[in-house]
């Protein structure tokens, strides 16, 4: 008999309960004769049995078995709060997407419904300074389709579009950015604005190749006024 078997098969407790057959009992007795640490285990098990027996005599044992931990209620409350927070976060997550997307379905709400495209605008780079494009905001949430002509040509793996809010005497504030946009068969890059997540005001749209070494000259900038 070895230590592993003694532990795994709970030999000490079963020996004390007279549950071993004669062969195992003798093997165990021979083992612990040479192993004082096993004798200590036996002594410990006897103390546990005695301790439990005294609790039983005092009438405490049944209530101790049934008792719920005192911290189980606060823990349950904490777990419930955590669950609620996570649930709310998950529920809210679809609503808090960026106001800019490369595909219309990316603007879908929690029910999976994408907003309707109310207007389409073609954005092209012009020589010299161009006035801001005025875009009226519809009263209800909808999508605005932006079709942009990229200046950068050649082997471009993809484009990125950034949307920033412009305010007087303040640096632009980035409110959205999308990557991996492909040029369509018509040579245009398409993106969508979610009017439900944009406030009226002036915005800068920057279209550029995704390559890290893309020069500033290859970036197309369009200014729009949402009203």
């Amino acid at each position: 008999m070895d230590r592993q078997r003694i532990d795994k098969e709970h030999i000490v407790a079963r020996y004390l309960a007279d549950q071993l057959d004669a062969v195992d009992r003798e093997a165990f007795e021979a083992h612990y004769a040479d192993n004082p640490e096993v004798v200590r285990d036996i002594e410990r098990a006897l103390r546990l049995k005695e301790g439990l027996a005294i609790l039983q005599e005092r009438g405490e044992l049944d209530s101790l078995i049934r008792i719920r931990r005192q911290w189980s209620l606060p823990l349950a409350v904490a777990a419930a709060i955590l669950l609620a927070v996570v649930g709310i976060w998950l529920w809210m997550a679809p609503h808090s997407h960026a106001p800019l997307a490369g595909e219309l379905v990316a603007l879908a709400d929690s029910s999976g419904r994408a907003p309707e495209v109310r207007a389409t605008y073609l954005l092209a780079r012009a020589r010299g300074a161009s006035p801001a494009l005025e875009i009226p905001l519809p009263p209800q949430r909808s999508a605005i389709e932006l079709r942009m002509i990229p200046s950068a040509r050649g082997t471009i793996s993809g484009h990125q579009v950034a949307l920033s809010r412009l305010e007087t005497e303040k640096p632009p504030v980035r409110v959205g950015r999308i990557r991996g946009l492909k040029t369509g068969d018509d040579g245009l890059v398409t993106a969508y604005l979610d009017t439900g997540q944009l406030q009226p005001g002036r915005y800068l749209i920057e279209l550029s190749p995704e390559q890290q070494d893309a020069s500033d000259a290859s970036t197309d900038r369009f200014v729009i006024d949402l009203r």
Binding site: H10, A13, E29, E43, R44, L46, K49, G51, L52, L61
Partner: protein
């Protein structure tokens, strides 16, 4: 050996008888040591436990066989009264540790497993079947409980050895 003594007292229901049985086991072990049947002093404790627990087992078997005898049962000594001296000294400490252990176990089911296995001495297979436990679950409960009990005894200073071999070494025998 206080746990051994307590168990002898509890099972026999007689503190004097328990003391006699333990003394007999010690004397037998010492005789074996003198005659060379026990090779070295380190085996003494194991031998004492072996003899004493055999006494205990024989007593229990005899006791079980006479349970059906109503007259004999009514003549049994008052176990509580006889065992009280032992319980007042160390048993109270072990009971406190056992209480702490039960409270540390995470669920009523785990506590029930411990009590039914150690105190009521139910067979593992019966327990698993009755509580719907796998062997793995059962082993985990018992192993953790055993380790926790050892830790608690050590923390409280109740795990000190009172073994015969150590006593003899101190006496220079």
């Amino acid at each position: 050996m206080s746990g051994l003594r307590a168990q002898l007292t509890r099972v026999t229901g007689d503190a004097e008888l328990a003391a006699d049985l333990l003394q007999d086991a010690i004397v037998t072990a010492l005789q074996k040591l003198r005659t060379g049947d026990i090779e070295h002093r380190g085996q003494l404790d194991g031998y004492v436990y072996r003899v004493a627990l055999n006494h205990l087992r024989n007593y229990r078997r005899k006791d079980k066989s006479s349970v059906s005898d109503c007259d004999a049962a009514t003549e049994m000594p008052d176990a509580d009264a006889e065992a009280r001296p032992v319980r007042l000294v160390e048993g109270r400490q072990w009971a406190a540790v056992a209480r702490r252990l039960l409270l540390d176990l995470p669920s009523p089911r785990d506590r029930e497993v411990l009590v039914r296995f150690y105190l009521r001495e139910e067979e593992r297979a019966d327990l698993c079947s009755s509580l719907g436990l796998t062997d793995l679950q059962f082993n985990r409960v018992i192993f953790r409980a055993r380790e926790r009990f050892r830790e608690l005894l050590e923390q409280k200073g109740y795990d000190k050895a009172d073994f015969l071999a150590i006593g003899l070494a101190l006496l220079g025998m």
